[in-house]
Amino acid sequence: MKAWPRKDGRKGIRNVVVVGYLVECAHHVAKTIVNKADNLDVQLIGFPGCYPNEYALKIMQAICTHPNVGGAVLLSLGCEGFNRELLKETISNSGRPVETLVIQENGGTKTTVAKGLQAVSKVQTEISKIKKVDMRVDELIIGTICGGSDGTSGISGNPAVGYCFDRLVEEDATCIFEETGELIGCEQVMTERAVTPELAKEIDDCLAKAARYYEILGYGSFAPGNAEGGLTTQEEKSMGAYCKSGDSEIVGLIKPGDIPPTKGLYLLDVVPDGEVRFGFPNISDNAEIVELIACGCHITLFTTGRGSVVGSAISPVIKICANPETYKNLSEDMDVNAGRVLEGTATPKEIGDEIYQLVLDVADGKLSKSEELGHQEFILTYKHFEPVGPACLPSAVKIKVL
């Protein structure tokens, strides 16, 4: 595989210019610049809120310095609370070209759009000079989520991704799974897979936090409909989502915006800390995809039963369709037909191998279906997190940090 080298040692499988709005008031100007640039590698990201939020700043910093990003153009109205100076400094210190345009200081919409297009083209020229280098499997970070699940997800798509994850981890890649709210019921299996008892305790606490959070929001987990679909117990239902993580040991627990410090399998805790505030933790699938990307994911494996068409800005999404009927209906949006397991023509392991090969191809430049179709969804909302505790990360790294 060939990839773009970055100053921090990571490598990007894409070389994107992000155009980021720092408040909803600058969204239209940023969007117009992206539309006029009309290039798949010029992509829109942003945060709509006017009041500052540490989490949003951390995610924007992580996204703008993601290895798939070559440079950035930031759009500010001028009076929003977002710390645009710090964001610019972070991007600049990462060795990437960055330009900030403040609409209130630039003469309005038209002028800022014109200047923004110039800025994009300047950044593009600069990053097109970067020479690609070799990239190994063990330098990849791969994430997984599921969305629009149905009874087939736990039979075909999710176990197949589990096999793919096992193979990636065996080859020293880094893999990340999440959806702690869906994993309630898997505490015992998960804690048994943790590399240390201290990490097991952290994972257990993390799931208890998720259970409490969703209970306050009024969402139970085991619905009567599950039994009709053949699911008998809470742990069985959760295992259906959890099996995406495969069989490898869990080496760490991270939060959105944390970059995994080592190889291996990580759990991403997406449920906010502290009292419930700012509403629902992940308002849609793309909110979770953004958090996986903020942790450095080069590619996201998205399993679906009922069908989804989304992709993402920054990092390609590979969609794995679990249901053969859905695949027939939405084949133009699906990268992998895991529904063949239900038709008796493939095993989950065979589909896992197919996904693994596609990961390597997409990492080497092949466009995923959602990329070809121009899907570049991005959503970021308010959240609050405390930093992870020392027991959450592998000990070798703790020593290095000290």
Binding site: G162, A227, G230, T233, E235, G240, D247, E343, G344
Partner: protein, 120 residues
């Protein structure tokens, strides 16, 4: 999955003691299952589980290589595994220090009482 086993069944993990049904199997059908030809006693719908081997009462049922609960009745190879013979062992974190589920001693196959326990 062994080549000889009915292709309507999928084994999700090597250590599992259940298969998952991918296409409906009707009561009375004779199916080949890892060395044995067995008669299916009840309709098995898509997504439902079928025992890979005999499972004694209180034995763990494994799916995805993990325990998804305990048998609350003796289960024979090729039996449908669901609410009537399988119960959850799960105790939410915030209840772990007290509530004991006594339904293991209840070998009745009354699905209704199971459902109410799930909601409890």
């Amino acid at each position: 999955m062994t080549k000889t086993t009915d292709t309507r069944l999928v084994l999700l993990h090597d250590t599992d003691n259940i298969f998952v049904c991918c296409q409906k199997i009707s009561a009375g059908e004779s199916i080949y299952l890892e060395g044995d030809t067995l008669i299916i006693k009840t309709d098995i719908n898509v997504g439902h589980k079928l025992a890979r081997n005999n499972i004694s009462i209180k034995g763990k049922v494994y799916k995805y290589g993990a325990s998804i609960g305990s048998a609350k009745a003796d289960i024979e190879k090729a039996d449908h595994v669901h609410l009537h013979n399988l119960k959850s062992d799960y105790m939410p974190s915030y209840q772990r220090s007290g509530v004991i589920d006594d339904s293991l001693s209840n070998t009745s196959s009354d699905t209704k009482s199971d459902a109410s326990k799930v909601n409890a």
